[in-house]
Amino acid sequence: MSRLDERPDDQPDERPEGPSGEPEIRVAGLHKSFGDNRVLRGIDLEIRRGEVVCVIGPSGSGKSTLLRCVNLLEEPTEGRVYVGGTELTDPDVDIDAARRRIGMVFQQFNLFPHLTVTENLTLPQRRVLKRGKAEAARIAAANLERVGLAEKAGAYPSSLSGGQQQRVAIARALAMGPEVMLFDEPTSALDPELVGDVLAVMRMLADEGMTMMVVTHEMTFAREVADRVVFMDGGVIVEDGAPGQVIGAPRHERTRHFLSRLLDPAMADVEEGTPGRAGPQ
């Protein structure tokens, strides 16, 4: 058992902003059912400002549904969701206004195919935030620069690779100036060789102190970038702790089972630096 436990920045308190009293995201007693299918069965979760939390778990565990409940793309059946101190589940809240502070990145990118890359970034700013043409264009250009795609400004999404599309999608969310970013399996639809660029952008955001909630299967990313890892199974949070602990030394049998099935070869690669087999324990 190696570098996992030696990593110095497992302490969430060492984020650039330092600790902050009020959690940026708070989920309390969250339940979500689709008909008879109870997908979330009582979730409590707090994410502090500047914290990066990766949510892992087998498919069907409810992790994507949880993420989609945080910006109310899915209406919770029961329970409360707070973002930035505002209760989104309060019926009096203007959800459109609240969502402007929450950026979301989808597995399928969901860029607007009828608009150029720049227009993908400027249209939401202009229609939703009522920014002027010049200001929106300036912010769009700056954010394309951030994700390293300034030269694709005039291209249409269909001419970009999946990795480039996803980086544009991240830039589009960032252009709205969000305080929180939600990532729903952002690299799951990508060819393996394109994953790295997207993760690099996410790593950059994490380093800049963005509050991030990431549903992912990228265990290397979770271990290296996340402040906390949450393991979900069967609609509940099974384990919640530092990456070194949840991924490196899971306490629960279900976590161990999931990790050993999912990660064995990948972990071996990363830990040994050579192709081979090594258990995560």
Binding site: N71, L73, D96, A97, R99, R100, I102, G103, M104, F106, Q108, N110, L111, F112, P113, H114, L123, P124, R127, V128, L129, S158, A169, R172, A173, M176
Partner: protein, 277 residues
């Protein structure tokens, strides 16, 4: 060469397959040539030429058939299309509404107006409405009536096309728009409808072609000389001159528009097919 490969018990008796094919094709050519020959022999060519190809009559139709009749046909079609598009979009959104009565109302409208002949709608607008509501004036006189009648018919068809187009836009587009802070209405207008229209441009153009032809129903409204379109103009001239040439010329004017439009539709469809791949 066949005898080298085909074992005797599998060899066909009688004609080979290619022989049969050649025989069948030859028979079809014989029928075709016989039919053409019969037509040419039996037709009274002098009479046909007199009836349909009187150049002086055709000449007399210009420029009015273009500047008046074709212009009016285009005007009726375009205004009818505009009314149909606006009403069709409204009906499509009603069909997709979460409010039951809107859905039912739109569904009822679509069923009724798709089930009625366009001619009946024209008579209804031209005759029944003025009788039933004396004093009501439809804005724009004949032009308004035609736009309304054509629009009412077209809307029913366009509504179904537009609805299908909106539903063809992936769900993720609405989710992405909502997650960026768009309201449902604004997302529909800015994100969903523009994409839907790219999908339904070919069928909508087809509808334009249909309307172009349906505008001939103006014939039954009773129009002034200045309001005549291609069909009415052609028929009037045909009865004045007791000759069919004007009908032929009017027909050619329709084809002048409908054939290129049809070509454009096929091009758009082919392009859309390519984009899917």
């Amino acid at each position: 060469m066949a005898d080298t490969k085909v074992p005797p018990e599998l060899r066909k008796k009688g004609l080979t397959r290619s022989q049969k094919r050649r025989l069948s094709r030859g028979a079809q050519y014989v029928v075709f040539v016989a039919a053409v020959a019969a037509f040419v022999a039996s037709a009274d060519w002098g009479r046909l030429k007199n009836q349909f190809a009187q150049l002086d009559i055709a000449e007399r139709m210009f420029p009015d058939i273009i500047t008046l009749a074709l212009k009016n046909t285009v005007l009726y079609t375009v205004t009818g299309f505009a009314v149909g598009l606006a009403l069709g979009l409204l009906l499509a959104l009603m069909r997709l509404s979460s409010v039951g009565p809107y859905r039912w109302l739109a569904g009822l409208y679509i069923e009724i107006f798709r089930g009625l002949p366009a001619l009946l709608i024209f008579i209804f607008i031209g005759v029944a409405v003025p009788l039933a509501f004396p004093g009501t004036e439809i804005v724009g006189g004949t032009y308004g009536k035609v736009a309304l009648a054509l629009g009412l018919v077209a809307a029913a068809y366009m509504a179904e096309t537009i609805r299908a187009g909106i539903q063809a836009v992936p769900k993720g587009q609405m989710e992405a728009a909502r997650s960026l802070g768009f309201s449902p209405a604004r997302a529909m207008v800015s994100i969903i409808i523009p994409q839907a229209f790219r999908v339904i441009l070919p069928p909508l153009t087809n509808e334009l072609v249909l309307l172009f032809k349906d505008s001939s129903l103006v014939l039954f409204l009773g129009v002034t000389l200045e309001e005549r379109e291609l069909s009415k103009y052609g028929r009037d001239l045909a009865s004045q001159t007791a000759n069919s040439t004007p009908i032929l010329v009017a027909g050619l004017c329709y084809l002048l528009i409908t054939i290129p439009l049809g070509f454009v539709v096929r091009r758009m469809e082919a392009k859309a097919q390519e984009a899917v791949r």
